[in-house]
């Protein structure tokens, strides 16, 4: 449960205080150094260093031949990355925003996720697709989607979504070393929200394992990525009302860490799931099913989901109303506790 396998860091003693976006940058830098098969591809990732500076300095350091500015062509990026990956390279393709991944949907759905199965493992696609996601930064339209569920319903693809700098680097390196394709979602809203000690050099955080962020006894709060700070604030407020919250950061969205969910819910008997994606079709429903399947007799109240509404993410004047807030999470907590 929530184990972390760490390779011995290259520069043992060193850690750096990094933000999430710096940790992502450092993860790519580490692997560009260690594995010459690593390539970074995307729009504006070269001199510009990416629109969020996630690739800052990488082209300068590793050359325009390994950190490659592509044309504005998401299907082209993923399609050629497939060709690169089956032919020995390890492409890390950046989608500028998750909301702009859709032109590549066919390539991901019918090839990235299926090539291993179709060829019984003869051809494989060890690639990473990085995408900033989520609302809350007053970005223009379509820049704020949180549509992870469109990719967890696609067997053959793993989906990862860290909430902290340490996990971000460790999971990104794990994704880059994974023999299978990984969609790596980065919360823009928390790209620079906090700094954390991040080891220099290579280490990995295991894909498929959630993390208990906080121990508690009355209710289990389940979230990931951008919603972790929201849930943490809600838990603080709930504790003031005498409700003890356990917080699970899923970190990997496919495959889900069923054990960590079941273990916690069986202890607390109550669950609140929080995500910013729409309610219908959201990953929260999968988690409800997992609890139903594993912990039915332990449940003391219906499971609550606090989610984005079933509306397109609005233009930013209304986005704060779209997003789950600590207050809405507290309301959910109270509902399950006082059922």
């Amino acid at each position: 449960m929530a184990m972390e396998i760490r390779d011995i860091p290259q520069t043992k003693e060193t850690t750096q205080l990094l933000t999430m976006v710096q940790a992502v940058n450092d993860g790519m830098k580490t692997m560009l150094e260690l594995d010459e098969k690593t390539l970074i591809l995307g729009e504006d990732i070269g001199k510009n260093g990416g629109v969020f500076r996630a690739t800052e300095g990488l082209q300068e350091r590793f050359g325009a031949d390994r950190v490659i500015d592509t044309p504005l062509s998401e299907a082209g990026i993923i399609g050629t990355s497939i060709g690169l990956a089956v032919n020995g390279f390890k492409p890390v393709a950046e989608m500028q925003f998750l909301g702009f991944i859709y032109p590549a949907y066919e390539q991901i759905m019918t090839h990235v996720s299926r090539i291993r199965m179709r060829t019984m493992g003869h051809f494989t696609v060890p690639m990473v697709i990085r995408a900033p996601y989520g609302a809350g930064i007053r970005a223009p339209e379509v820049h704020s989607d949180s549509t992870e569920a469109l990719f967890t319903h696609m067997p053959g693809l793993k989906v990862v979504c860290p909430s902290s700098p340490y996990d971000a680097k460790g999971l990104l390196i794990a994704a880059m070393e994974d023999p299978d394709p990984v969609l790596f979602l980065e919360t823009m809203r928390n790209y620079r929200a906090k700094r954390e000690d991040v080891p220099a050099g290579k280490y990995t955080v295991e894909i498929g394992k959630g993390k208990k962020v906080k121990e508690g006894t009355d209710v289990t709060l389940i979230a990931w990525g951008a919603m972790i700070p929201v849930v943490e604030k809600a838990a603080e407020q709930a504790e003031k009302k005498g409700i003890s919250c356990e917080i699970i950061d899923l970190r990997t969205l496919y495959p889900l860490d069923r054990d960590i969910i079941a273990e916690s819910v069986q202890k607390t008997g109550r669950a609140v799931i929080v995500h910013e994606a729409h309610s219908t079709g959201g990953l929260g429903n999968d988690i409800v099913s997992i609890i139903n399947d594993t912990s039915f007799l332990y449940l003391r109240a219906p499971i609550e989901r606090v989610t984005g509404f079933d509306v397109p993410v609005p233009l930013f004047a209304l986005e704060d109303h779209y997003l789950p807030t600590p207050a809405r999470v507290v309301q959910g907590i109270e509902k399950v506790v006082h059922f």
């Binding site: 504006d44 504005l72 223009p140 609005p314």
Partner: protein
């Protein structure tokens, strides 16, 4: 290939008429219209940047340098045509009749900014690149089916030509002879990516060959060239001949958006030789005796007032209504969504 697509110009950088065949087509009213609208949208644009810096507007995409392309093309439109702009074409939509207050509202994250004035068929800006291209083909095709004389224009950048939707849209339009003008503003960059990294072709105009349609390369900083060539393309479209691809070569003077820093990726001296399209028009007006200091001062004052009034109205606009988050997703609220709305409104009321 390039040589097959020489860049069409009507006036040169010094404001001299270099194609005398246009002499009779240019009258003072047209010139004044150009100057008026280019000044107007520039005033709007500069104000927007300054508002953004003061935190009074969200991230904003400026178009300075592209005014001749946007005004020239917008003025060539008929009253009932369709406009499919990108996030950088509000110079064109303002010229075509979009509401200035609402245009500012859009950049403040207000959905009201997507609603055009009644009767003006202006689509909201396309944010996912190139998606508007097949849509414009469809809207134009609909006009043709209805037997009207209306057409559509799709605005898009050089970067957009790399997307599949560009290709599929042009293919459809060419097959069904939809009355649409594909108006490309080649400003040399897709954010930070220069055109030579976006494509191996030397021009965008030559991409028309793939669809068996006319392609024209024009100086997009020459409002006359833009206006007359776009008009020609519309005439061609309205006569049932189908689409034209226009490449208007221009230059984005400033940043991609207010969140962007072009000094990171553009060589310092690049673009220095580009003559500002408004200055070029001014030179023309001076060369041909239609420069009127008093009139210019007058419209500048008037436009400043118009823009200030629009900003004030934008800032006084009623606050965003949370019900709008729910009410326009479907014609009728489905039960589950109605519940979500109800319980959220109750939550807001502190229930």
């Amino acid at each position: 290939m390039k040589t097959q697509y020489p860049m069409k110009k009507v006036i040169d950088d010094e404001g001299n008429l270099i194609d005398s065949s246009y002499k009779d087509k240019i009258d003072e009213q047209l010139v004044r219209d150009f100057y008026y609208h280019m000044t107007r949208i520039r005033t709007f644009d500069r104000k927007a940047i300054s508002l953004q810096r003061q935190g009074r507007l969200g991230t904003y995409a400026p178009f300075e340098g592209q005014e001749a392309s946007q005004v020239g093309s917008a003025l060539s439109l008929g009253a009932d045509d369709w406009v499919f702009p990108t996030y950088r074409d509000h110079g064109a939509t303002l010229t075509y009749g979009a509401d200035m207050i609402r245009t500012y509202l859009y950049w403040n994250g207000r959905v009201e900014g997507c609603v055009p004035p009644e009767g003006k068929k202006i689509f909201p800006p396309a944010v996912p690149i190139a998606t508007q291209i097949p849509q414009a083909a469809g809207a134009a095709w609909a006009e043709k089916r209805k037997g009207t004389n209306n057409a559509a224009i799709a605005f898009f950048g050089d970067g957009a030509t790399s997307e599949g939707d560009f290709h599929e849209g042009l293919n459809f339009a060419s097959i069904f002879k939809a009355p649409v003008v594909f108006f490309n503003q080649n400003n040399g960059y897709a954010i930070s990516v220069p055109i030579e990294k976006q494509m191996n072709s030397e021009t965008i105009a030559q991409k028309s060959v793939a669809y068996g349609i006319p392609g024209v390369r024009i100086d997009g900083n020459d409002c006359f060239a833009v206006y007359f060539e776009t008009k020609k393309a519309f005439d061609y479209a309205r006569s049932g001949n189908g689409p034209t691809l226009i490449e208007a070569v221009t230059w984005r003077t400033g940043a991609h958006t207010t969140a962007d820093d072009p000094s990171k990726y553009r060589p310092e001296d690049q673009g220095k030789d580009v003559v500002d399209p408004l200055l070029r028009l001014e030179r023309f007006m001076k060369n041909y005796g239609c420069w009127d200091e008093a009139w210019v001062a007058d419209i500048q004052e008037q436009l400043k007032e118009e823009v200030e009034a629009a900003v004030e109205a934008m800032e006084k606009f009623p606050k965003a209504n949370v019900e709008d988050l729910f009410d326009h997703v479907f014609a009728e609220l489905p039960a589950q969504l109605a519940d979500q709305k109800e319980s959220y409104l109750a939550h807001l009321r502190g229930e």
